[in-house]
Amino acid sequence: MSGLQTLLYKEMLRFWKVAFQTIAGPVLTAMLYLLIFGHALEDHVKVYDQVSYTAFLVPGLAMMSLLQNAFANSSSSLIMSKVMGNLVFILLTPLSYWHWYVAYVGAAVVRGLVVGAGVFVIAAFFTHIGFAQPWFILAFAVMGAALMGTLGLIAGLWAEKFDQLAAFQNFVVMPMTFLSGVFYSIHSLPAFWQGVSHFNPFFYMIDGFRYGFFGVSDVSPWLSLSVVGLSLLVVSGVALQLLRSGYKIRS
């Protein structure tokens, strides 16, 4: 294996060794959301005419889990290595900043996709979901996971303590994912909050991803794809620059 492949393998092995916590746990949490919200709201909420509320919920929950876990993977790996000091093993190697980026984000994408797929597979036992546009599903899943893996990388570099990372996760990532239309269509919101939602990049990830399943969405999937793609480019540029300058890892 090359140096890059080894770092990618190590990052994947790291989450795989604690798969109960990193994969099974998030899948179970998403299932609880599905059971409780699906049961409570199935007969009261109708978002799209041909789609049951439980079916509507599944892509949103799968994407939410995918995004949160992609973020958690790169950020927790980096902060743990920084706090425990074992990041030095990677800092001493000939790996370039590009290698770091590809390996950390790559592993985050894999974990995000595994968790997202897990949610989807189990949810398929409860409700029928179609695949109207499979390429959109794949594109939004991979780009969304990459975007969040990159954000996690930035947060992991920035944070010096676990509670700083927890603050980022609880006060930025969680609200933005919850308020992105996982549980509802933004058309059900008052006009003001509809407007606000359009500034939330998570909304485009979930709306575009859902389009892949149902062929209907709140905004054009091409607009969503552009917003997600552009956001990915911007955060990747920031992450690469931070890695190149050795931000908080090389004094």
Partner: protein, 315 residues
């Protein structure tokens, strides 16, 4: 071509004391060349800049000015090649709790692109007394065992240049013996070794050349044998119950009851012993021994006591 070369290298950190903008030079324009195959010792008190120099060599810290290279590869411009030539044992006892010893070594090997390295990994485990711990998780190992793994990780890609930053700090005698035998063997095979240690007897026994660092500057640099010759050739050592007069104490090295005076000849020895007697004290267990590296080190540090190098204000 030197194995390790520092060219007028400096590292400034912002100083916690003084007005904003005050900087502290942890390393102050140091130039040093270590030839291939040398066993070189870098000595100095805490905060002298030893670890900062090693960190700059390893790419963990960026120099404020100057440069460093490993076997001709600049550590910044040509960092990948420089790091391939370098194996560093860090001072801190760090480990990755997710992996066992063999996994940690395979992964470290992979970072350097070294494939099918199990034969060398087995040899490392055997030589460092880790063979029966290969499948143990890093968390289960004692401090000494973790230190051995750190050494193995540094050597896993067979680097021609090995840097050991206080590798025997706080470890038992057995590991020290095992480690030094192994490192000496590697040195005989042609590996260059740069060592920092607080155990001066180790440096004296192992290093062919030594640099002493104080306040970020080299204050002595020579072959170990030359440094030893240059020092006062003998040391008068005895025990006393009571305090020596101040004027006498200023010339001595005192550790609890043990008093040591540097002495060049019999006259000086007689002078010290009579001064002790006149102060009403009795010198016991008197012995005269050859000066060692510790005496040299203390002499050099004492000569540079007033050193104020390293403090400055950035414009």
């Amino acid at each position: 071509m030197p194995a390790i070369s520092f060219q007028s290298i400096s590292k400034a950190y912002s100083s916690p004391k003084g007005p904003p903008g005050t900087t502290f030079l942890a390393v102050d324009h140091v130039s040093l060349a270590i030839e291939e195959g040398e066993f070189f010792g870098l000595l100095g008190p805490n905060g002298a800049g030893k670890t900062t120099m090693i960190s700059m060599l390893a790419g963990l810290t960026r120099p404020s000015s100057g440069s460093a290279s490993v076997l001709g590869h600049d550590v910044q411009k040509d960092f990948a090649d420089a790091r391939r030539q370098l194996g560093v044992v860090p001072q801190e006892l760090v480990f990755d709790p997710f992996f066992n010893v063999r996994e940690a070594l395979r992964i470290q090997s992979g970072y350097f692109g070294v494939k099918n390295n199990d034969a060398w990994i087995d040899e490392l485990l055997e030589n460092l007394g880790l063979a029966d711990k290969a499948d143990a998780n890093m968390r289960q190992l004692s401090g000494g065992m973790k230190r051995r793994v750190l050494v193995a990780q540094a050597l896993v890609h067979k680097p021609p240049v090995i840097v050991l930053d206080e590798p025997t700090a706080g470890v038992d005698v057995e590991l020290r013996q095992t480690l030094w035998q192994f490192i000496a063997k590697l040195n005989k095979q042609g590996h260059t070794v740069l060592l920092t240690t607080h155990y001066l007897e180790e440096a004296e026994a192992l290093c062919s050349r030594i640099a002493m660092l104080k306040s970020g500057r080299i204050v002595a640099l020579d072959h170990t044998s030359t440094l030893l010759k240059a020092a006062s050739s003998n040391v008068l050592r005895f025990k006393v119950d009571g305090e020596l007069p101040l004027a006498l104490a200023a010339q001595a090295r005192i550790t609890g009851r043990i008093v040591q005076f540097p002495a060049h000849n019999a006259l000086e020895i007689e002078h010290f012993l009579s001064a002790v007697r006149e102060s009403g004290l009795l010198a016991q267990d008197v012995e005269i021994r050859k000066a060692d590296l510790e005496d040299v080190f203390l002499d050099v540090m004492a000569q540079n006591k007033g050193s104020v190098h390293g403090v400055g204000v950035t414009a």
